[in-house]
């Protein structure tokens, strides 16, 4: 799944922070505990030293009971329990709180009036669970604050930071080389974005130039060809009037066919490049039903040789906004294609709805290859007289008019639909 750039950096940040925080919880706990115990030990030692220095010289055996009675954390026990100083942790039961409490205890052997005693100093430690819970809570709060902070900061600052980038992205996405609209990137003070925009501008300019040259070339070439073709045609027309032998007339006749094929090819190339150059901008309302009715005779005539059965279902009135010339070319091409690629005694069904027209026709019994169908000069049937531009013209007209052409092969019928 694709993620947005901003989310991606944020996610990395978040994962890293959580990871660091989770690791730091035990470490922090361990260090805190160590420091705490060390400090406690020092205090215990300090208290003992103080006792030994200030209290012990004046201490009497009979003071011990009283001392022990009023001192909870420093007790004097008879006999030596230990032979030297010993520090350790120990758990005592606390009757007040009715639970076990951890203590740190320092035992030091002492002598009171020559009698062996043991000094026992102890300090209540914070319970481990309490410490862990406190630290965990603290860290949870820190994590939440951190995450929220990161999220909000990246949302706000990154969005601002990356704005030129997203703007550029949107513009290139909407850019089409055959539409005369160059993208206008927003100004930015980020060097990388500036570089990106400059490179894109250069790339687009260069490609547009190449594209325009190409386009002009096609149109100019087609135009320039008109004159020699006219020469060719008039000469053949002149030749037709001469007395020619049978053999010569055969050559002449096929020459005539060739030149008229050349004419058609050139005219269609010219038409295609004129459509691409946006020479048909005017639009007006057109009622397709009426156009079809008006020219049905012509199409029926064309279909007569193949004895085709033409059925038109005018289910609804189809009124569209379009360039009249191009719309006519579109309908004519679709209709003539349905005739041209049909079988003898085949049929053509035309369905008109309020927003589409569909041409169904019999023909070859396999589906056409959709990928190539609308390309220039791609002929499904190489032997056909078509020049391979009809479909490209249809496609171009639908593109430029923002209509949609689709092809399907169903029930042995080829189906072309234009959605307006």
């Amino acid at each position: 799944m694709n993620k947005k750039l901003l989310n991606k950096t944020t996610t990395t940040f978040l994962i890293f922070s959580v990871f660091v925080l989770l690791i730091s919880v035990p470490v922090f706990y361990y260090i805190t505990e160590r420091l705490y115990i060390e400090e406690t030990d020092e205090t215990l030692a300090l208290h003992r030293d103080e006792f030994l220095k200030n209290k012990l010289p004046k201490f009497d055996a009979k003071d011990i009971a009283l001392w022990n009675k009023y001192n909870r954390n420093v007790q004097i026990f008879p006999k030596h329990i230990v032979t030297k100083d010993s520090l350790f942790s120990k758990v005592y039961f606390d009757e007040l709180e009715n639970e076990n409490e951890p203590y740190r205890e320092l035992n030091t052997p002492i002598l009171i009036k020559g009698q062996p005693y043991t000094y026992v100093g102890r300090t209540n430690l914070i319970e481990k669970e309490d410490l862990i819970i406190s630290i965990a809570m603290l860290f949870l709060v820190v994590i939440i604050i951190l995450l929220l902070g990161i999220l909000i900061i990246t949302k706000i600052s990154s969005r601002k930071l990356w704005k030129p980038f997203y703007d550029t992205l949107d513009q290139i996405q909407g850019f089409e080389i055959d539409k005369n609209k160059k993208p206008h990137f927003m100004d930015t003070d980020v060097e990388e974005f500036n570089r990106l925009n400059k490179s894109l501008n250069r790339l687009i300019e260069k490609n547009t130039d190449i594209y325009n040259n190409q386009r002009e070339f096609v149109e100019n070439a087609a135009h320039e060809l008109q004159t020699p073709l006219a020469l060719f045609q008039t000469k053949i027309d002149t030749l037709f009037q001469l007395d020619v032998t049978k053999d010569q007339s055969q050559v002449l006749s096929s020459l005539n066919k060739d030149v008229s094929r050349l004419n058609r090819l050139n005219k269609n190339l010219l038409l295609l490049s004129k459509i691409e150059n946006g020479n048909y901008p005017d639009k007006e309302p057109i009622i397709i039903n009426e156009y079809l009715k008006k020219h049905l005779e012509f199409f029926t005539e064309q279909a007569k040789a193949k004895n085709l059965n033409i059925v038109i279902e005018y289910t609804e009135k189809l009124k569209i906004e379009g360039n009249p010339s191009l719309t006519e070319v579109l309908i004519n091409n679709l209709f003539l294609n349905a005739i041209r690629h049909n079988n003898k005694n085949g049929k053509i069904i035309i369905t008109i709805t309020s927003d589409s027209i569909t041409f169904l026709n019999t023909g070859q019994e396999t589906a056409l290859i959709v990928d190539k169908l609308f390309n220039r000069f791609s002929k499904s049937n190489p032997s056909s007289q078509g020049n391979g531009l009809g479909m490209a013209i249809i496609k171009k007209i639908t593109e430029i008019s923002h209509w949609k052409i689709s092809y399907a092969f169903d029930n042995n019928l080829h189906c072309f639909t234009v959605k307006f």
């Binding site: 008109q226 004159t227 006219a230 008039t234 027309d237 002149t238 006749s253 066919k257």
Partner: protein, 225 residues
């Protein structure tokens, strides 16, 4: 009838001239803007064929000049330029017809005839060929005063054939004439045969002569011999 061909492609001009001559049309040719202006100023023509791109000037300027001098010549633009704008500009400047190159000479011939007919219109607009009379306005055809039951397309075909009398016409030329704007998309001209057959039948039924001849391998001819 006298026409002026203003065309810098001299061979095209020569071909037009050669094609029209047997049909009684006198042609003068002019390859430059300057020469064309001289001819227009000094002579009167029934019709001017005008190429727009001349080596020393713009064909449109000749149109303007004609208009300025209140000349009555009909003008047919013959140009390789095929944009709506030039077409509209041509008509606005007073051209009567616009034919894009390449074209069939037969097509040019009937266009000139139609133009002359419109220019010389005096109440009736009939094309008469022996026993056949075609009324352009009411779209009717009579043979020996018998009205034929004939379609518009057949009248169109009849006019095309008679206009090109004694010329051999290819199926393609006829098909392109009959299908007009659609011609560029048509690659099958077989429908011409059906039209010729029907027209022939209707004419002979009405007792007309058998003028439509099939020329083997090439096409058809309206034969007046």
């Amino acid at each position: 009838m006298k026409i002026l061909i203003i065309e810098d492609e001299l061979e095209i001009a020569a071909n037009i001239k050669g094609y029209f001559k047997p049909n009684g049309i006198q042609c003068e040719t002019s390859g430059t803007y300057k020469d064309a202006l001289d001819k227009i100023n000094n002579y009167d023509y029934d019709c001017v064929l005008l190429d727009l791109m001349l080596p020393d000037g713009d064909g449109f300027d000749i149109l303007k000049e004609l208009k300025k001098r209140n000349k009555t010549e009909g003008v047919i633009i013959i140009s390789a330029k095929e944009t709506l704008d030039t077409r509209i500009e041509g008509f606005n400047l007073g051209a009567d017809d616009y034919l894009t190159k390449p074209f069939h000479l037969s097509e040019l011939l009937v266009r000139i005839q139609a133009l002359i007919r419109r220019k010389n219109f005096k109440g009736n607009n009939n094309v008469v060929f022996n026993e056949i009379v075609i009324d352009i306005l009411s779209k009717t055809v009579t043979v020996n005063n018998t009205k034929l039951d004939i379609t518009k397309k057949e009248i169109d075909l009849l006019l095309f054939l008679i206009g090109n009398e004694n010329k051999v016409l290819s199926k393609g030329a006829i098909a392109e004439h009959l299908s007009g704007d659609m011609a560029d998309m048509l690659d099958n001209h077989d429908f011409v045969y059906a039209h010729i057959k029907n027209l022939k039948k209707k004419l002979s039924h009405a007792g007309s002569g058998d003028y439509i001849k099939t020329i083997y391998g090439l096409g058809y001819k309206w034969d007046n011999e």
